[in-house]
């Protein structure tokens, strides 16, 4: 079973997204801050991270930098998901596997994840 780590400070969003992904057969972990997300990513090394961008303390951009500079986490697939549409344009300049705009449809996010994971 492939695993996905959701990093999002909006707990309800993280929870409903987790339910959608679990329904589609993934093992899902939740982290409600960027710092916890980095710790969990290093410990668990999931197949993919669903990363929110606008978070307090450390943003998704900073989480991405830390994950990419850590030997253990540098190759994990990362999919941004954000409610700020202009983040999509900015995300093209960084090392992520894609971008999903909130709100999203279950089939859209699942299809994108499957494509990234080569399923």
């Amino acid at each position: 079973m492939k695993s996905i780590l959701i990093i999002d400070d909006a707990k309800v969003v993280a929870e409903v997204t987790a339910l959608m992904l679990e329904k589609n057969g993934y093992k899902v972990y939740r982290a409600y801050s960027g710092r916890t997300g980095i710790e969990m990513a290093t410990a668990l090394v999931p197949n993919l991270i669903l990363l929110d961008i606008m978070m307090p303390e450390i943003s998704g951009w900073e989480v991405l930098d830390e994950l990419r500079s850590n030997e253990k986490t540098k190759d994990i697939h990362i999919l941004f998901f954000s409610a700020k549409v202009d983040d999509e344009e900015k995300s093209k300049d960084v090392a992520v596997d894609g971008f999903i705009a909130k709100p999203f449809d279950e089939d859209v996010i699942v299809e994108k994840i499957k494509k990234i994971l080569g399923e």
């Binding site: 909006a10 309800v12 959608m20 409610a83 700020k84 549409v85 202009d86 709100p103 999203f104």
Partner: protein
């Protein structure tokens, strides 16, 4: 620190509105699929209404964000070769997700082979949805309809699209008003029709960003014809 621009405010508001909307949409979609438990018919009906209203709310937020950014040159269009019929059908499907009123949308000469258009798929889909929405909103006939005609304009390397409805029409003196931001024929505060008055403004501006022409021709209480052109060659480098 400089002043916060309207675009930045729109982006911030959109973030704050979209985050709870993501949770509502996610849970209601799971409910509709019977994820928590099977729903009876009354519950299914209620959930379908919530889904449409959530999609409508998201559409309004998108319009507000688009209206603050569409004229900015830094907003780059994602140009790709697109089949026009598939795009219109996609827009019809998208429109059904936000609107309950029934309107008969018919594409004429659908068998003809049209060249691909070079457009930002999502933006042009939005144009069609806005035009469908306007035709439906400003129409008090029992049987509402829209006829779509597509033709080639060879000398201009473009397709001409005409949408003709059987709605209440637009007086000729208002042609220039209704394509402005937040404008409808009725005064802003006395409006009887819902909507922010952004549909035709966004439709026209998006078409112009594609180097296309946009126009209105109408007969009061009879019809409104909206016509516009879409490029059949990639003109994105001319922007």
């Amino acid at each position: 620190m400089g002043e916060i621009t309207g675009k930045e405010i729109a982006a911030l508001i959109s973030h704050e509105l979209r985050t709870p909307l993501t949770s509502i949409k996610g849970y209601v979609d799971l409910l509709s699929k019977g994820f928590f438990d099977e729903l009876n018919d009354k519950q299914k009906n209620a959930v379908t209404i919530i889904q449409k209203e959530v999609n409508k709310l998201n559409f309004i937020i998108e319009n507000l964000v688009s209206s603050s950014s569409i004229e900015h040159p830094e907003l780059k269009l994602k140009i790709e070769a697109v089949d026009i019929i598939a795009l219109i059908n996609d827009a019809i499907e998208g429109y059904k997700k936000i609107q309950d009123d029934s309107i008969d949308i018919h594409i004429e000469n659908i068998t003809e082979n049209y060249p691909l258009v070079y457009v930002d798929r999502d933006k042009i889909k939005q144009v069609f949805i806005h035009l469908f929405d306007n035709s439906c909103k400003f129409n008090d006939k029992k049987k509402k309809e829209i006829r779509i005609k597509i033709s080639k304009i060879k000398e201009e390397d473009s397709l001409r699209i005409i949408l003709k409805d059987n709605g209440m029409g637009i007086p000729v003196t208002y042609y220039n008003t209704v394509v402005k931001k937040f404008k409808q024929i009725e005064n802003f505060l006395d409006r009887r029709h819902e909507g922010l008055g952004l549909g035709l403004y966004l439709a026209k501006t998006i078409i112009q960003r594609h180097q296309g022409k946009f126009g209105i021709n109408s007969e009061e209480n009879e019809y409104t014809k909206i016509y516009f052109s879409l490029p059949t060659v990639d003109v994105s480098s001319n922007e």
